[in-house]
């Protein structure tokens, strides 16, 4: 650790749905990855701000040009507005931990940012550019690797980081994971949302639902296997509040991500050297917002049963596991290393 009074180490998990930050000054925050600008004079007058971030942006979305600027964990391509939105998001995260961007007394900020395991090189470069002016030095690491590092699960372990945009896999074999050790799937929280919306629209065409309502329901009641209780929601139908049972739709939507995740898990396991496969099988760690789906570890253990069984655990703090891991990396890197990574 080479942290001084003048330097601040931070770990950022820039997620499609939520972004979290952990800092060496003890601050930890999570925000919804939404950025919105008032659409017109009326909006500006009402919200009294030039830009709104996170939940505040979501709550005032009718008045805003609302952006969810990250797609599958990286900046959406081809949109300058989305790039600007990511910068706003990063600036906001930094301000939450007490850093004033334009302060002359501001110390050096060293940031580790998690990106999807198989993010394009060009996406990494764009993210580095977005960090310009936000931090002084930046290191980009794969999200599951950041989780593994934070948990010190560096040998014979598999990390599955299931977020909104992607499910990222990484097998730790005592080395920095190579491409062969990692996978990224697009089947994650967002695909559950889309599936759930479609199923509800098919089965209850009269129900008026939005994708934001769907996301809220999923966060409250998502499950695979047997539900703890029936899932009922109240939604307007032609303006009248009506109750619907969406248990079956919720199960079908959540279980839709299981086959690709199980297949990838088994595929990656089969590529591990045979003498270590059992150890890896018994050390599968699930992180990310979608790891909170009820019954998910059991379902993945069931998938491992055809290989001889396995043990799947969910990290204690799925929301901050990535940013905490990033912070650990940032703290452990030497000053000389950080100088090589300066912006």
């Amino acid at each position: 650790m080479e942290e001084t009074n003048e330097t601040l180490c931070i770990g950022i998990d820039l997620g499609t749905s939520r972004s979290s930050i952990s800092a060496s000054n003890g601050e930890r925050h999570v925000i919804d990855s939404y950025v919105g600008w008032p659409l017109d004079m009326v909006g500006r007058k009402l919200v009294k701000k030039t830009v709104l971030i996170g939940r505040e942006a979501l709550d005032n979305r009718s008045m805003l040009d609302l952006r969810r600027p990250l797609e599958r964990g990286v900046i959406k391509e081809g949109s300058a507005k989305d790039e600007e939105a990511v910068q706003e998001l990063l600036r906001h995260l930094i301000s939450l931990i007490g850093i004033k961007q334009k302060s002359k007394t501001r110390g050096k900020v060293r940031a580790v940012v998690g990106v999807p395991a198989e993010a394009f090189r060009v996406s990494r470069q764009r993210l580095r550019s977005a960090m310009d002016g936000v931090a002084d030095s930046v290191m980009l690491v794969s999200e599951p690797f950041a989780v593994a590092y934070g948990l010190e699960a560096l040998l014979h372990a598999m990390i599955i980081d299931i977020g909104a945009g992607t499910a990222d896999f990484c097998v730790m074999q005592g080395r920095y994971p190579t491409e062969a050790d990692q996978r990224t799937l697009p089947n994650a929280g967002d695909s559950i949302d889309e599936r759930l919306l479609k199923l509800i629209q098919e089965h209850h065409p009269e129900a008026q639902v939005s994708i934001h309502m769907i996301r809220d329901w999923k966060e409250k009641w998502s499950f695979v296997g047997e539900p703890k209780s029936r899932v009922t929601v109240t939604v307007p139908t032609k303006g009248k509040a009506t109750e619907f049972d969406i248990t079956d739709e919720m199960r079908a939507a959540c279980e839709s991500i299981l086959p690709p995740i199980s297949e990838t898990l088994i595929d990656l396991l089969s590529r591990v050297e045979p003498e270590y496969q059992e150890q890896v099988r018994n050390n599968i760690i699930v992180a990310g917002g979608s790891s909170l789906i009820c019954g998910l570890p059991d379902a993945l253990e069931k998938a491992c049963s055809e290989l001889g069984g396995g043990r799947v655990t969910v990290v204690k703090d799925p929301i901050f596991a990535g940013s905490d891991g990033g912070l650990s990396i940032a703290r452990d890197a030497s000053t000389a290393d950080w100088e090589r990574l300066s912006l």
Binding site: M139, V141, L154, I329
Partner: protein, 386 residues
């Protein structure tokens, strides 16, 4: 033990930093621009005259350029299309300027680009490349005639593909149509290869390797769709490319299930495809085949829905090194389509339409009716055999 963990962490951390240093270096590389010192006035005068002369020459030579474009065979439009691809916006794509004097020996092609070397096939264009060299290059980049074709009946063996409610398997239908297509081609001078001739399991990467190893000029993969809602009866033909259509992504993920490729493999290869003139040729082939299929089958099947030509990242289209298409010739989720598919005459009609599509493409490529006649001596009677 703690010491071991600390050492492992330190080693891994060094590797992580090293991998980041590579990204930092490449992101700090600035494109080479004009020198900071302003050039003298005479330079700007000379430049203006040169631009004026070039513009006048451009107008005069427009017609000639079209002719040369055909001869050279490089699809300038394709290159411009590539330039417009946002995904490769960081790559410089050249404009090709061909100049021809009275003396054929003075013909030359200049490549104007920030990145002076654009790989095209196995060749690299230098700042001035003799036109004759481009002619030679064209023959390797895009074959001027179709001599060898690989037909790929989808699925097979343990991989049934789609199965209708009445139990008809995609793998059986595709093999039957492929065998019929080969039968129709036996009368011509085209060399026909099939990835499988029986009900056998064949991984997608082996199909790709087979087509590449045999230096095929065309690759045609035959499939039968399965789609919700079941009332629909779509006809679609695919060529390689990225897509945002969720239905196509779903279909590609189903068809690619046994590919042996990982998602990162697809991404890497798709990146290259943007720089691949082969894609434009695949598009033309797909259009020709889809047009013939619809024209022929809609007479028997009026409810057939022509969904046209689409891009999709199917494994067999990504890996093959020649113009390649995947035709979804019918739909096993629709029982009326299933009834038609169980009829030998209908399968024969599909094979004939595929043949006409292939020949139509070859005809345009060769630009000569005579060559097409060489390719295929039309049988006197196209009969449906059980």
């Amino acid at each position: 033990m703690e010491k071991d963990v600390a050492e492992t962490k330190l080693r891994i951390l060094r590797e992580a930093i090293q991998s980041n240093v590579g990204v930092v270096r490449s992101s700090k590389v600035k494109p080479q621009g004009l020198p900071k010192r302003a050039p003298p006035l005479w330079f700007w005068g000379f430049l203006l005259i040169a631009i004026g002369a070039a513009a006048a020459d451009f107008v005069v030579r427009q017609q000639e350029r079209e002719e040369v474009k055909k001869m050279v065979g490089i699809q300038l439009d394709t290159l411009r299309g590539i330039q417009n691809q946002k995904s490769v916006a960081h790559l410089a794509v050249p404009s090709l300027v061909v100049s021809r004097g009275k003396d054929p020996s003075s013909h030359s092609a200049a490549v104007d680009m920030a990145n002076p070397l654009l790989p095209v096939g196995s060749h690299l264009l230098n700042a001035t490349t003799p036109l004759s060299a481009l002619y030679q290059m064209n023959r390797t980049v895009l074959p001027l005639s179709v001599r060898r074709i690989v037909i790929d009946p989808g699925h097979g063996g343990k991989q049934h593909g789609a199965i209708s409610e009445s139990g008809v398997s995609e793998k059986d239908i595709t093999l039957d149509i492929a065998l019929r297509l080969r039968g129709l081609m036996e009368n011509g001078s085209l060399e026909v290869f099939m990835t499988r001739e029986a009900d056998e399991t064949l991984p997608l990467e082996k199909r790709v390797a087979f087509a590449n190893a045999n230096n095929a000029d065309l690759f045609v993969s035959i499939h039968v769709n399965w789609m919700e809602p079941r009332e629909i009866r779509p006809l679609e033909t695919y060529y390689v490319g990225a897509t945002n259509d969720p239905a196509v992504i779903k279909l590609a993920s189903i068809e690619n299930r046994d590919s042996g490729y990982s998602l990162s493999d697809y991404r890497r290869v798709l990146d290259k495809i943007y720089l691949d003139t082969r894609r434009e040729e695949s598009h033309r082939l797909a259009k020709a085949i889809n047009g013939e299929l619809y024209q022929s089958l809609s007479l028997i099947n009026p409810e057939l829905e022509n969904r046209g030509v689409k891009m999709a990242p199917f494994a067999v289209l990504i890996g093959t090194q020649m113009p390649a298409v995947l035709a979804e010739v019918s739909c096993l989720s629709n029982e009326d389509d299933v009834k038609l598919l169980t009829n030998a005459d209908y399968r024969e009609k599909i094979a004939q339409a595929l043949l006409r599509g292939i020949l139509s493409y070859a005809n345009n490529l060769n630009g000569s009716e005579k060559k097409v006649a060489d390719l295929w001596k039309k049988p006197t009677k196209l009969s449906a055999s059980e």
